[in-house]
């Protein structure tokens, strides 16, 4: 695929606006240097790299962004955010994509069965964290 035609219609613009509103970050600042992806500890598991997610948001490619596993693999470690030379709050953008999905399709909320061992030993932060990040509450 040498090139692709991108349609920047109303829906696309609305998507960009919403992501920017939820995250409070301006994605247009990004100049695609790739530093966020190169420092991400989980990028090897992502089907879109971190800067690709930002790039696709910038160009309003909603479907591609929403079908990527990247925001769900992200662990909110904030390494990308503190390293971005353009001060894009990338981790917040990842969170915004998660929130966008869960606000519009709450059925994507993941249900996780806990074993007895997990209930006994798992730190509270792990439980609260995982339901906060993967569910809308």
């Amino acid at each position: 695929m040498p090139f692709e035609y991108i349609k920047m219609d109303k829906e696309a613009l609305k998507f960009i606006d919403t992501i920017e509103e939820i995250s409070g970050s301006n994605v247009y600042l990004c100049y695609d240097c790739g530093k966020c992806s190169s420092g991400c500890a989980f990028v090897y598991k992502m089907d879109l790299t971190v800067n690709q997610v930002i790039s696709y948001i910038k160009t309003g490619q909603k479907e591609k962004v929403l079908s990527a596993n990247s925001p769900w693999v992200c662990s909110s470690c904030l390494t990308c955010t503190v390293r971005c030379p353009r001060e894009v709050d990338i981790a917040a953008v990842m969170e915004a994509v998660r929130e966008y999905t869960l606000r519009n399709e709450p059925e994507r909320l993941k249900r996780i069965e806990l074993t007895d061992e997990m209930k006994k030993n798992l730190p509270n932060i792990a439980l609260v964290g995982s339901y906060r990040k993967k569910s809308e509450l």
């Binding site: 500890a41 662990s75 503190v82 030993n121 798992l122 730190p123 932060i125 964290g129 990040k133």
Partner: protein, 310 residues
């Protein structure tokens, strides 16, 4: 000197050793951590959404309560108490610091949250500072004092300091330089142990992915432990109950699956401080909470228990 101290949930459930050794250390160093009489969950793993104030009520409520606690402490102890609340868990530290900065900067956020706090007769005035105990150790107590208080140097321990993400991220919550922190290493040195320099000090352990996506955490921990071993570390220190859990739990899994031969013991930095400062009794350390039992390691180095007389 006394400090208002916010424990957070984990320190009351499965990281009791972290808290009890920290309090003992703080007393010994004349910087006593006094627990807030009332507190709630810090609102852990700070929300990065900008349009949801609900998720910020819990931390602000804690800050308001801490401010009251400081006042009461001042009245009862007749000494000046810093307008600070001290945390141990790195996740609480980061959450409280972020929200504190947010509401200090933006009173439009603070006001509606304060309306919610009216039910508790509380109001947060944006006048508190959040500190991690590591910052108190570095800035108020000083490494010199720690060094002078050491009774039993941790000879034989080669320690890799693992900061994890939340002690250094984001910018407003960092306790040290984000890419080259030194506070944990300096403490390790003060305690007479060997400092292991390694590049993985903030390589994410996988965090909350332990719930439901354990394989992600497993790979992270494998990388981390291998890196520590390669640099000849024989133990790791942490400041986060979740880091500790992940590092221990996944080491056990890795050994079970034949991917690793032996495990490294994981300690809270306060446990090792207590050990070096000669703090007893042993039950304060709650080593039974650790999934990788650190006792045989400490015994071998002669740091706990009496050596068998021949």
């Amino acid at each position: 000197m006394k400090y208002s101290y916010f424990p957070g949930c984990n320190l009351k459930t499965n990281s009791v050793g972290f808290e009890e050794t920290a309090i003992a250390v703080s007393k010994k160093l004349n910087a006593e951590l006094v627990e807030m009489p009332e507190w709630n969950c810090c609102g852990t793993i700070h929300t990065q959404t900008t349009d949801n104030l609900m998720k910020r009520i819990a931390p602000v409520r804690n800050l308001a309560r801490a401010a009251e606690h400081v006042k009461n402490l001042e009245n009862s102890s007749k000494e000046v108490i810093h307008k600070q609340v001290v945390t141990l868990c790195s996740m609480c530290n980061s959450t409280l610091k972020i929200v504190n900065a947010e509401v200090k900067e933006d009173t439009d956020k603070l006001e509606p949250i304060n309306w919610q706090l009216e039910y508790d007769n509380l109001e947060y005035k944006g006048d508190m500072e959040v500190k991690h105990f590591l910052e108190i150790l570095r800035d108020d107590i000083g490494y010199e004092t720690i060094m002078e208080s050491v009774e039993k140097p941790l000879k034989g321990m080669r320690i890799a300091s693992y900061y994890g993400c939340m002690l250094l991220h984001p910018e407003i919550a960092k306790i040290d330089d984000q890419e080259a922190p030194t506070v944990m290493e300096s403490i390790v040195q003060a305690l007479g142990a060997e400092v292991i320099d390694w590049p993985f000090f903030k390589f994410c352990c996988g965090s909350y992915h332990i719930v439901g996506e354990e394989d992600l955490v497993n790979i992270q921990v494998h990388t981390l432990i291998d890196a520590a071993k390669k640099r000849n570390a024989n133990s790791i220190i942490v400041a986060c109950p979740l880091c500790r859990y992940n590092l221990e739990h996944e080491q056990i899994e890795l050994i079970k699956n034949g991917k690793m031969k032996n495990s490294l013991p994981i300690f809270y930095f306060t446990q090792l401080m207590a050990l070096a400062l000669g703090i007893k009794p042993m039950k304060l350390y709650h080593f039974e909470e650790h999934l990788v039992n650190p006792k045989p390691f400490l015994k071998e180095l002669g740091l706990i228990g009496r050596k068998k007389s021949k």
